[in-house]
């Protein structure tokens, strides 16, 4: 049975952004299907993180449009934007956990900030969410600095999903982790996204991770989306740029700018 044509959860059209005279996004067009995982691939400095930060409202784009559920987010008032952010979770590359707060307050930060629960309830809720990412309730009383890199990533994942968002962004979720811990994090991401029925957008360089967590994939190169397709086909897409990137080959259309 064919799926009915529906509005993409996120739609980017002609997104442009420059920093000084450096053009970072040169007309990004991208559709992300509701309830699916989209993986955005691309080399360092290709504009992946800037794209995500534009969607999150952390960086204002110079031009183009961003629609979420068919609504233009760039024209939203501050209050509307804040209401939209309530439905969004974000896992930052380095975790970005708040050093001054214990783990349980980090996990339930959004719920406490919005006064949706009391501090006593937050402790219980944090223990519940920490269990979902494979951490013991006692971890909640530790400071972020006392955790290993893998545990910090899991706490950051718990924080991203604690308020049950319907859109979740993952910025390089497995960077800096060993392959086994990377696979564990990917598994947790797939589990929580499926449980929430959320739409996920992930940025990664890790092809194994991309295949595990993505339904769809898109490749960004020189500020433009040059390919979109099923994540499972990465490496055999027929697109020379994507295949070179996916296989990590030196020779191909992508030439690193190296000084000799």
């Amino acid at each position: 049975m064919r799926e009915p044509a529906s509005i993409p959860k996120i739609r980017l059209r002609g997104l442009r952004k420059s920093f000084g005279d450096k053009l970072v996004l040169d007309g990004v067009d991208l559709d992300v299907r509701a309830g699916h995982g989209m993986v955005v691939l691309g080399g360092s400095g290709s504009g992946k993180s800037v794209t995500v930060k534009c969607i999150l409202g952390l960086i204002p784009p110079d031009g183009g449009s961003i629609e979420i559920d068919g609504r233009d987010v760039l024209g939203m008032s501050r209050r509307e934007r804040e209401a939209l952010n309530d439905r969004i979770g974000m896992l930052f590359q380095n975790g970005a956990l708040f050093d001054s707060l214990p783990v349980w307050e980090n996990v339930c930060f959004k719920l406490l900030a919005q006064k949706r629960i009391t501090r006593a309830q937050a402790r219980d809720r944090a223990a519940e969410v920490l269990a979902q990412v494979g951490l013991a309730p006692s971890v909640g009383d530790l400071a972020p600095a006392e955790l290993s890199g893998g545990m910090q990533k899991r706490v950051a994942l718990a924080r991203a999903v604690a308020a049950q968002p319907d859109i979740i962004f993952f910025d390089e979720p497995t960077t800096g982790l060993d392959p086994i811990m990377g696979a564990v994090i990917d598994g947790l991401i797939v589990d929580v996204v499926k449980r929430l029925g959320a739409t996920a957008i992930s940025i990664t360089h890790d092809m194994a991770s991309a295949r595990r967590i993505g339904d769809d994939a898109a490749m960004i190169h020189k500020g433009r989306i040059v390919w979109t397709g099923p994540a499972a086909t990465l490496g055999q897409t027929g697109n020379a740029l994507v295949d070179q990137f996916a296989r990590g080959e030196r020779e191909g259309p992508i030439q690193m700018e190296l000084r000799r």
Binding site: L56, G57, E82, I88, F92, N94, A96, F98, F109, A113
Partner: protein, 258 residues
Amino acid sequence: MLDLVAALGRAVLGLCRTVGAVAIFALEGLSHLVRPPFYGRLFLRHLLEIAYFSLPVVALTAVFTGMVLALQSFTGFARFNAQGAIASVVVISITRELGPVIGSLMVAGRIGAAFAAEIGTMRVTDQIDALSTLSTNPMKYLVAPRLLAGLVALPFLVLVADILGVMGGWLIGTVKLGFVSAAYLKATFDFMQAMDVVSGLAKAAVFGFVIALMGCWCGYNSRGGAQGVGAATTAAVVVSSILILATDYVLTEAFFAR
């Protein structure tokens, strides 16, 4: 010659831009003090950090300043046979100027640097962006409670500095310089006016705001990793120290110029 003028013009324009940006930053921070939600717990934490944990450094500085002032005044005034004015010189100098200025400079070194380092680290590790994604306005969460804490804490610290500074002068006056304790204290209280203390406390509130503002501003706008945070910390202390002395002159003109 034209290059020199162009460079000077660029510097002036850059300064104007920065002053405008700091003013907008301050106004936005203050506006969050009257708009919910309020972060009372954070305000109390910063108040404790400034008012309580700065007490030892401010107290020691004030005591020694009062002692030095009494000693210097005695040796200087002896040339004019005016040693009897020491108690009044100590109390007016401490309450009007030295208490607020030296106390605030000490706090600028301690708190301005701490604010800039903490917020700067949050900036370069994406924690400020994380706040935004967690439905929390960083200006409301990070800046507004610190501004209010600076504004409230400094008058308290300066009041303590005033008392201890005068006591330092009294200690040297009675133990070393041979003044009778009761006479020294009587001269102190007879000469001191309410305006001396009130103007000092008002200055302290302004200095506290300046310290918190510059700490937050420098940290919030830091860039480039550890080096950027270090630069922000240095800038916060240097700029707030200069601004304390500059606003001290302006406030002194406002309070006492005839």
